[in-house]
Amino acid sequence: MIKFDQVGKRYPGGYDALRNISFAIEKGALTFITGHSGAGKSTLLKLIAAIERPTGGTVLIGNQNVSTLRRAAIPYMRRKFGLVFQDHKLLYDRSVFDNVALPLHINGIVGSEAAKRVRAALDKVGLLAREKAMPIALSGGEQQRLAIARAVVSRPAILIADEPTGNLDADCAADIIALFRSFHQVGVTVIIATHDAGGIIPSDAKVLRLDHGELRGDGGKTS
């Protein structure tokens, strides 16, 4: 479903964020990308989600080559993914409900159909009672859940999360990971980047370990 072949990403100025990355992620897999901060985890996720383009190698999503995608086709590519950003990127000038409704509006779904889906997503992450609240009134864990609800509301086949447990305590983090596992169990391909190698990674997950922009120990399971 997702295939990287000798992918490199060099930023202007000559900095190589990623070098010679090759791996494949099967449909329906649960994958963790680990590594120290600055190892290139976020860059890797951005390459998968067609937010950035590789400067070398090929990235195949489904059967489409992201490197050669027309600019006008990129938005439609991005819609295949549910994205949970490291900094959430919630919109603080609108309610929880409206935040979750945004991806649906982009897809042209409005009205009662949209409301039904928004409530289903909020229910899934346990925020149904807070739909009228503003994001600023939510706790850190709740904001993370809101970001997840927005990512899953348009029922993407692939769910991508960048450091979803980054600044949560152990209990909250475990809840969030359990939430992602539940999506994995219903067939969603889940990819999570985390610097926190210990503890939170389930034993059945595939792990890609990045070190200074290069891949180490592809496919290994955590002990």
């Binding site: 950035e52 938005p75 991005r78 919109l91 042209g108 409005v110």
Partner: protein
């Protein structure tokens, strides 16, 4: 198709909602644009009314020779022959006093004045067109003709109409220039408003792009905002113009009554009104499009 309609309806609703959210700012904005647009519109209406007023008048300069009231028919014939032989006369016609009297009674506006007179006060007259339109040559001819026998008065008229026409031409050009300049200003004002809106919605635009919004989706509400602002500005200008004309017409009617005329300033016709309002909307769209193209590319995510 349905999908497309929904997208447009949503963008429209969003912008109407935003405008209602800040009614004072929106009204101010529409007022400013209305005032800007009403200036060329007022000038246009003034020029239009002036040319309407002068439209019925003769535009070629001519010399009118009023004869002494006791001129005999054969003396008139002698004058006729002298005019025919004169080199500087291009054409001429005789207007008998009875004809002139009937014509005057028929012509609008002055009926009340003529009804008050018991007998025909008009003399016989020749109306002379000169072969040269040069004002100096015409003046010379007028002086010469005034010396002829049985001519009580030789009047060089309609020169002022020529000047009026020249002025009207100038006025029409001024309308175009003013409309062009203020149209440009309108594009700039709306562009700036849209730029500010884009800046305040920067986060939303960024997130929307990241999760798969097309450029078109992002542009659409801003284009609606620009078009609606322009439309509102056009309507505001029309209302201001109507108000100004109403105000003026009360004085114009008083003035016209003194001249026993029913002259009134005319409002823009249906077509001209549509041009004003549609033109304003188009300018709004243009301003928004320029701003959106310029500033959305600055918010690039790939």
């Amino acid at each position: 198709m349905k999908h497309w309609l929904i997208q447009h309806r949503e963008a429209f609703k969003l912008i109407i909602g935003r405008m209602r959210h800040t009614p004072l700012a929106t009204l101010m904005m529409l007022g400013v644009m209305g005032a800007m647009l009403s200036l060329p519109a007022i000038l246009y209406v003034s020029v239009d009314n002036l040319s309407r007023f002068s439209g019925g008048l003769e535009s070629e300069p001519q010399i009118t020779l009023f004869l002494d009231r006791d001129t005999k028919p054969d003396e008139v014939r002698q004058l006729d022959q002298r005019l025919r032989a004169h080199a500087a006369v291009k054409e001429y016609r005789f207007v008998g006093r009875e004809n002139a009297w009937q014509e005057l009674q028929k012509s609008s506006g002055l009926g009340d004045v003529t009804a008050g007179l018991e007998r025909n006060p008009l003399p016989d007259a020749f109306i002379v067109r000169t072969s040269s339109a040069d004002p100096a040559a015409m003046e010379q001819l007028q002086k010469e003709l005034a010396q002829w026998p049985h001519i009580e008065h030789a009047q060089l008229d309609a020169a002022w109409i020529k000047r009026l026409y020249a002025l009207l031409e100038l006025g029409k050009k001024a309308v175009l220039v003013l409309a062009g300049l203020l149209g440009f200003a309108l594009v700039a004002v709306i562009g700036n408003t849209i730029r500010l809106q884009i800046l305040t919605q920067r986060e939303e635009i960024e997130v929307s792009k990241l999760i798969g919004a097309t450029d078109r989706f992002i542009r659409r509400p801003f284009l609606y905002a620009g078009t609606l602002h322009g439309l509102g500005g056009g309507v505001a200008a029309w209302l201001m113009l109507a108000g100004v004309l109403y105000l003026f017409n009360r004085s114009v009617a008083d003035l016209a009554q003194l001249y026993a005329s029913d002259f009134l300033l005319h409002m823009l016709g249906l077509r001209e009104s549509l041009v004003l309002i549609a033109g304003a909307a188009a300018l709004g769209w243009t301003g928004a499009y320029l701003a959106v193209s310029r500033y959305l590319s600055a918010i690039e995510t790939d």
